[in-house]
């Protein structure tokens, strides 16, 4: 077993174990921190797959952006003193069966598929140049639409979460 293989199993283990913790932990703070390790594990797998740019973006966007936002959400909506942070689960047995069905069916498809794998990684030492080129040529329109999506998300988030000037002071005190 080469070092590369060991690295794969290491990251795979981190990803799966922490993902399970995200979903099954009874404490929302544990879930949020487990998610950090899932993102990290996935970033490691990207690096192993030769996608260096994606790996860095994964760390920046998911860990630096989305996870921080989630933590803010957790902290703003949980009154640490009065409410216990445990969160309930329901229907454990159907969930396990569904898990086995979904994961099993998809993995089965992957194993029976006859992969037409093209040998070798892309030549470039870094993928950033290629990806940048593609963004500004073939994928220019989706690139522009993505920027509109982000703009709308900003406007919408500001619209829905901003405090109403006329809202009652009791409501403001609650946050």
């Amino acid at each position: 077993m080469s070092l590369f293989d060991i690295a794969f199993y290491f990251f795979a283990l981190i990803t799966v174990a922490s993902a399970a913790l995200v979903v099954f932990s009874r404490n929302i703070i544990y879930s949020a921190f487990a998610l950090l390790f899932t993102f990290f594990g996935v970033a490691g797998l990207y690096a192993l797959l030769g996608a260096d740019f994606v790996a860095v973006a994964q760390l920046l966007i998911y860990v630096g952006g989305i996870l921080v936002l989630l933590l803010f959400g957790v902290m703003l909506t949980t009154k640490l003193v009065s409410v216990d942070m445990k969160t309930g689960t329901l229907q454990a047995l159907p969930a396990t069966l569904l898990f086995a069905a979904v994961a099993g069916a998809l993995s089965g498809v992957y194993i029976i598929t006859d992969w037409n794998v093209l040998a070798g990684a892309p030549d470039a030492a870094t993928t950033a140049v290629t990806i940048g080129d593609m963004f500004l040529t073939t994928w220019l329109l989706p690139f522009e639409i993505a920027s509109v999506v982000l703009l709308v998300a900003l406007v919408g988030a500001a619209m829905i979460a901003r405090r109403d000037a006329r809202s009652k002071p009791t409501q403001q005190a609650a946050l």
């Binding site: 498809v109 598929t113 639409i145 406007v155």
Partner: protein, 473 residues
Amino acid sequence: MDLLTPHLLSIGPLLTLVAVALLVLLLESIITKSEPVSFWTSVAGLLVSIGIAVPGIAVHGSAFGGMLRTGGSANYFSIIFFICALLTIVFSRDYLKKRDSVFGEFYLLILFATVGMVLMAAAADLIIVFLGIELMSICLYVLAGFIRGSVLSNESSLKYFLLGAFATGFLLYGIALLYGSTGSTSITFLTEHFETYASSRLFLAGIGLLIVGLAFKIGAVPFHMWVPDVYQGAPTPVSGFMATGAKAAAFSIIIGLFAQRFVHGVQIGTLLAILAAASMILGNVVAIAQTNVKRMLAYSSIAHAGYMLTGLAAGNAYGRDGILFYLLAYAFMNLGAFGLISFMEQEGEKHLTFDDYAGLGTTKPFLAVLMSVFMFSLAGIPPFAGFFGKYYIFVGAVQADMTWLAIVGVLMSVVSVFYYLRLVMVMYFQDTLIGQTASYSASSAAFVVLAALILLGLGVFPSSLLAIITTLY
């Protein structure tokens, strides 16, 4: 320049709409009392967009290096979306005043949602489909929760968001598997090489996941559970917008993917037929039990998704043209009905039950007549346009040897007559219990009347619209 002009014209409706949306955004930030300006800018912009899209129907082409299809069905769907957006904006102005939530951002979000829909209808690549869906959905999540002081509206928004994002996960996994099995995300490529890949399990798994994601968006059984709650809690005109525009947009993708060569040789037709039958049965039967008018229309919209899926399951030109006809008619009748409900609704989600409509025929004959027109049309009673939409779809199903599906559809239409006409009965044959109030502006009233007249016109002269529809693909 000569080379550029036809190119720009072909994407004219999209460009105009984006420009108007950005203009409204700018107006919102620089003018203090911006709401009336934003309102009229949006209305004018949508009218201009319709004006640009209509002549473009006859010209088929593509733009942005094959990322977008232009003309034909893309323009037809764009016109449906523009009409939905226009009616929604006009109706919502009175409504927002009632709910104390008059903000110009509302029009902005409707416009951007419409941009997303246009992208969905014009998409020739799965990534554009994905981004279009997200642009539309993100706007709709916010619009559903636009009445910020109302818990019902907040909840509706959260439910829609969580289930919408969940559906996006399936859609994306489907796209990833299609990319993995073919090495391409181009819809043109996928439809042309469908037979080549049809034996690949991976490809079929991708198609299956894509259908799951899209079935969520159109609210077909068994992915319908969000529909009643979301429609009930969202601001009434927004519910209408979701039921018509968002549904038409999701159908535009499904038609683009499956209505042509995609269906051949695979059991996708049967799968769609099962979804269609389940949606028609569940939607219509559960709608009978509803006491809230908005909830009744929500279940009715599940049933209508079923009717339209019937046309898709048929997989022939008749069924497809039937869906296109029905989507336009549905936009008018459903938005008209939601518009009237928004006139009647009072602060605090009140006056929304059947009982609140008792005796409306004597107290407010104008509203009662219009509501009856929309109910008759939704039930598929001639001479209104709803009848012909269903007729073409069911004929398509019979021609495709799916007579059982057509029979289910006809039986369920009969069931639906019961609850649509119950509202009409209540309005005309029950005594008024409480003082009814309705508030609406002249422009809203004019648009409702216009919608009713168009329904009647399409019902009397269906062939004129059908002649256009047959040239779309």
